[in-house]
Symmetry: C2
Subunit: 243 residues, 2 copies
């Protein structure tokens, strides 16, 4: 690419173009198809140049993850809360699966960018509408997103499907009904169901389990206690254990 005045024109380097190109590579070529060197090459510069905008590969991965989360569409406000919950979580799964290797990133680099914030805020709002107390909801969205990410990571693994089939078949060929009676009995069940069926089942399992385990005793009803929440003092103590 040349400018009309003659001098060669490169896309001006910036965090944004770097992240965009990295995301493009991740989507097109998978997890190990994205690298600092290839991003630099695509941007027609040396690999060292990127370090002016990004501290290391891990930071770039974090930025790419949040960039991807920008594509998660928030649910329509009008619908019932459980429908909105399923919509949002499924949208997240789809985004994480759309770029192979993205879900794998999500474990190493936990998203704390603006788009992750946006999703967390929406999830908390939905659970609030569902009558889930803030104390419960804080842990609940953690659990829900853990499931979403883990599910996406397994699903997105390109070799996963064939591996599972091979592995399960090999497994059952080794499985005698005496040694592993339960596995033997459950064989067909383990392979049954589509991804969507399992996802819907799991979300319902999680939600109903969450509704049964409020962390504040007064919060057992499903009737909304809307707007009763945003009244808390800021700045808490440091995390003690954390998952």
């Amino acid at each position: 690419v040349k400018s009309r005045r003659g001098g060669p024109v490169k896309a001006p380097l910036s965090r944004e173009v770097i992240v965009e190109e990295a995301f493009r590579q991740l989507t097109a070529e998978g997890l190990k198809g994205m690298s600092l060197r290839k991003v630099a090459a695509a941007l027609e510069t040396g690999p060292a140049s990127l370090y002016a905008y990004v501290n290391d590969l891990r930071e770039l991965q974090t930025l790419v993850l949040d960039r991807a989360l920008a594509n998660v569409k928030l649910p329509q406000p009008g619908r019932p809360w459980r429908e909105r919950l399923a919509q949002l979580l499924y949208a997240e799964v789809e985004v994480l699966c759309a770029s192979p290797g993205l879900a794998q990133l999500a474990f190493g680099a936990i998203a704390t960018g603006p788009n992750a914030l946006r999703i967390a805020e929406t999830l908390l709002g939905i659970l609030d509408d569902g009558g889930v107390a803030p104390a419960t909801a804080a842990w609940a969205i953690d659990l829900l997103q853990l499931y979403v990410t883990a599910g996406a990571a397994e699903k997105a693994d390109s070799a996963h499907h064939s591996n599972v089939v091979d592995g399960v078949e090999q497994m059952f060929s080794l499985t005698s009904s005496e040694e592993f009676p339960h596995i033997y009995a459950a064989e067909s069940e383990m392979l049954s169901g589509t991804g969507a069926e399992r996802f819907a089942w799991a979300i319902n399992v999680l939600m109903d389990g969450i509704l049964q385990h409020p962390r504040t005793p007064e919060q057992r009803s499903q009737k909304a206690t809307k707007k009763a929440s945003a009244t808390k003092p800021p700045k808490a103590s440091a995390r003690s254990g954390g998952r």
Copy 2:
């Protein structure tokens, strides 16, 4: 090391010593502290030699994962089923966390080795004791182990804790109560609780959710229907969707 007869004696190369050394490196040095080249070097041979025993890095990782799962202690048979369930899952988390990076492996390389089988069989047995129908249990252990693996992956990440603290603090510094009212309100709750508290809560959430969502309608009671299961024909149809 020399033999008494004079000739230098190397540990004879085998799948087992390779996996053992790789597992040692993974435990000692973390995910990227283990490599084919370093395993070869430790075994005093060239990197090419390993390919006689292992097809590629991925296969080695699968073998290492199953090797690690050998360390998961099965629960005492006498105890109530929910206690055994929590014991087993917690033992699995501990094993996955003990070697940093092991949990990360568990996503790329789903365990179908003998030790994974042993754990799956035990889990199915426990759920059977809990009155969970085989059809439900097959999906349930998938969900439970997804949580265990995902939780371990997050917990084992060495930079995770400081990242979370930094990220959450940075997040809240950007979080105005107008823009993100729910996050603002739930701030202290998000940082609360130890890992063990959250784990116990999550397992109860999952189990009670599972008990509420049987996939066969007749199976709602918690009374055991022991030994009523191992009566199914073998060999099912191929998987359709996968989770």
